[in-house]
């Protein structure tokens, strides 16, 4: 078993390298096509949000229906502080993250006293309330007319105005985000969170401070979302409250679920599939039905979503993990299985039959 573990670790490291190479090389493959690059950037931004949510849902077991609110907090904090208060975008990003974490803390303390669907409801309510603020707090957010003229982010004084450098910047954030999430999952904290999933009483009786960990994950996911929001604001330079309402929150939820919450990669995979599916349908549907508008895309999107989840209830990463195990571990697993059976079924009488 030990050797099996090591083997897969080795393979995984190798996979990481290949992945990193693809990631870095992708822009050159698409040869400066800014459309593809912006698609990738958008995937990256969504991935950041949904990675945080994956931690929250998959490991802390909490469904959030209001994540876009944190995305919005990041975006508006950055927008306001850079455009009106003249802050540097980096500082503004950090401030947004801190604010999001603070809000998550304040909201989380009472909210995490709630259970199950009440929690989903509370996050939904939080989303609605934040949306109202974005909408009505016109002095700061520009209200429904939107907030435009957000300055770009700068590195060493150079504004990142084109897609290529922004792509790398976002990638860096995503990789760091996934890496951080992965480390947490594989630690004492991650284990405790999964334990909460299994049985809250038991986890708590073993010394796991349930509220603390849930709250920490909530705050962490808020930070992820807020960072993504800040980056978005500097990238598109125009934001409006509709981007941060309930519907986007639901889209984030969809991404997390198609990606699967069993792996920290779920967020990235889900975001990629979600965006690509939409773009692909945009290209394919008109070929099938020349006169169709977007409604067909919506219908197909809905159908695909349903079919996908029926056949892959653990999301794409779940399927990938399964396939991976089948492919690489089949023989090893089988050996282990038979051993397990033999040892489970303790022999007492018919020892000679063994």
């Amino acid at each position: 078993m030990e050797s099996g573990q090591r083997m897969t670790d080795g393979r995984k490291r190798w996979l990481w390298l290949v992945g990193a190479a693809v990631w870095l090389g992708l822009p050159w493959l698409v040869f400066g096509n800014n459309y593809v690059l912006s698609t990738l950037i958008l995937i990256g931004l969504y991935a950041l949000v949904s990675t945080g949510m994956t931690l929250l849902m998959g490991y802390a077991g909490q469904i959030s229906l209001g994540q876009a609110a944190f995305y919005g907090i990041g975006a508006y904090t950055s927008a306001y502080l850079t455009a009106h208060a003249g802050w540097s975008a980096w500082l503004a990003l950090a401030a947004g993250a801190a604010l999001a974490a603070l809000v998550a803390l304040v909201v989380g303390i009472p909210v995490f006293r709630l259970r199950e669907h009440y929690l989903a409801l509370a996050t939904l309510g939080f989303g609605v309330i934040m949306f109202t603020f974005f909408k009505e707090w016109k002095g700061i957010t520009g209200g429904l007319n939107g907030f435009f003229g957000i300055p770009p982010i700068r590195i060493a004084g150079i504004p990142l105005q084109s897609d290529l450098p922004f792509y790398y910047l976002v990638s860096l954030f995503v990789l760091a985000g996934v890496w951080f999430a992965r480390n947490i999952v594989r630690s004492r904290v991650g284990r405790a969170l999964r334990a909460i999933h299994g049985s809250e009483v038991a986890a708590s009786s073993l010394g796991v401070n349930i509220t603390k960990y849930k709250l920490q994950m909530f705050m962490l996911s808020a930070v992820y979302a807020s960072a993504a929001g800040s980056l978005y604001a500097h990238y598109v330079t125009f934001i409006n409250p509709d981007l941060f309402g309930i519907v986007p929150s639901i889209y984030f939820l969809i991404m997390v679920v198609i990606g699967g919450t069993g792996s920290v990669w779920g967020g990235l995979v889900g975001a990629a599939v979600y965006v690509c599916l939409g773009e692909w349908l945009k290209a394919v549907v008109p070929l099938l039905l020349p006169n169709a508008g977007g409604e067909f895309e919506i219908v197909f999107f809905g159908l695909l979503l349903v079919v996908m989840l029926i056949y892959m209830p653990n999301g794409l990463t779940g399927v990938a993990a399964k396939g991976w195990r089948r492919l690489w571990k089949a023989s090893w697993r089988q050996q282990k299985q038979t051993a397990a059976v033999d040892s489970h079924q303790a022999r007492s009488i018919g020892g000679e039959r063994g």
Binding site: V257, E295, G302, L305
Partner: protein, 293 residues
């Protein structure tokens, strides 16, 4: 006098809206109590019901027949939905099932857009256009219909769940599906029936509201969301509480809008709801859940 009539007006506004939420919320409760699924396409049943009914009426069908037919059609759609989308995914997690229902609601909405386009449609009220004047407030007959229908539906459902053996079996299904099967309860049939009935209730809600606010392809989302809130506030498995929740949401909205600010109305009513939940973390109408270690 002024204040009094405003109060009555707000009260009735709240009751009208609340009764619509209530009908849809009942659908949530039924589906949830049998299958454990939060069906976020519930609001779209209302949309389908309203638009179908409108189409039938416009094709010259008698009003009552059109209502019956559209409810039946939506029930069939609900049953189909259960068979094709829910049944195959029975074992999935809550989040996955929620997203499946969202996917289905996309499909419903997209198809409705194709069939009926973006225009809002009108449906005639059940009984005349005149309004009732009460304590200086104006109340439409349709609002009274809405309240009556939701109360009747609720009573029927309540009796069914609490007074019949099938009702108990329905509850058993979600508490412990494994044990329910061991008792010989056919979970699949129950779940099919539940979805059909909730779809029917949703359709009814749509037909009741259409004369008041019109019907269009995207009306389901908002109704669904509000009803979801009502159902959760009521505890999800508890029909009377869901009804109370629905009226509470309706009234909160109405009073927040009337006395405070319409822009902040949603935030205010949500805020109040959350505040209440924080003090009663298990819902407003918590019953003993029967869980211990």
């Amino acid at each position: 006098m002024e204040a009094w009539s405003q109060f009555v007006q707000l009260l009735f506004s709240g009751l009208t809206v609340g009764s619509i939420y209530a009908l849809v919320a009942l659908g949530f409760v039924i589906t949830y109590s049998v299958t454990g699924i939060l069906n976020l396409a519930q609001g779209d049943f209302a949309m389908l019901g309203a638009l179908l009914c409108m189409t039938f009426v416009n094709s010259g069908m008698p009003f009552a027949l059109a209502i019956g037919l559209s409810i039946a059609a939506v029930m069939a759609i609900g049953a189909l939905f259960e068979r094709l989308a829910i049944q195959p995914a029975r074992r999935s997690s809550v989040a996955v099932l929620i997203i499946i229902t969202i996917g289905v609601s996309f499909v419903f909405r997209g198809l409705a857009l194709l069939v009926w386009g973006t225009d809002p449609y009108a449906l005639r009220p059940f009984s005349g256009h005149e309004a009732l004047h009460l304590f200086g407030a104006v109340i439409q007959w349709q609002s009274i219909w809405a309240v009556i229908i939701s109360v009747i539906s609720f009573l029927a459902l309540h009796l069914f769940l609490n007074r019949t053996s099938i009702g108990k079996a329905v509850t058993a299904c979600v508490i412990n599906p494994f044990a329910a099967r061991l008792m010989g309860i056919n979970i699949r049939k129950m779940s099919l029936g539940a979805m059909a009935v909730s779809a029917g209730l949703g359709a009814l809600a749509g037909i009741v509201i259409a004369p008041i606010s019109g019907a269009s392809y995207d009306m389901g989302m908002m109704i669904g969301l509000k009803a979801f809130i009502a159902a959760v506030v009521g505890g999800l498995t508890n029909a009377p509480a869901a009804i109370a929740g629905a009226f509470l949401v309706g009234l909160l909205e109405s009073f927040a809008e009337g006395y405070l600010s319409s822009g902040y109305k949603e935030a205010i009513s949500f805020g109040l709801l959350l505040l209440v939940l924080f003090f009663m973390p298990n819902g407003l109408f918590a019953k003993m859940t029967g869980k211990r270690v």
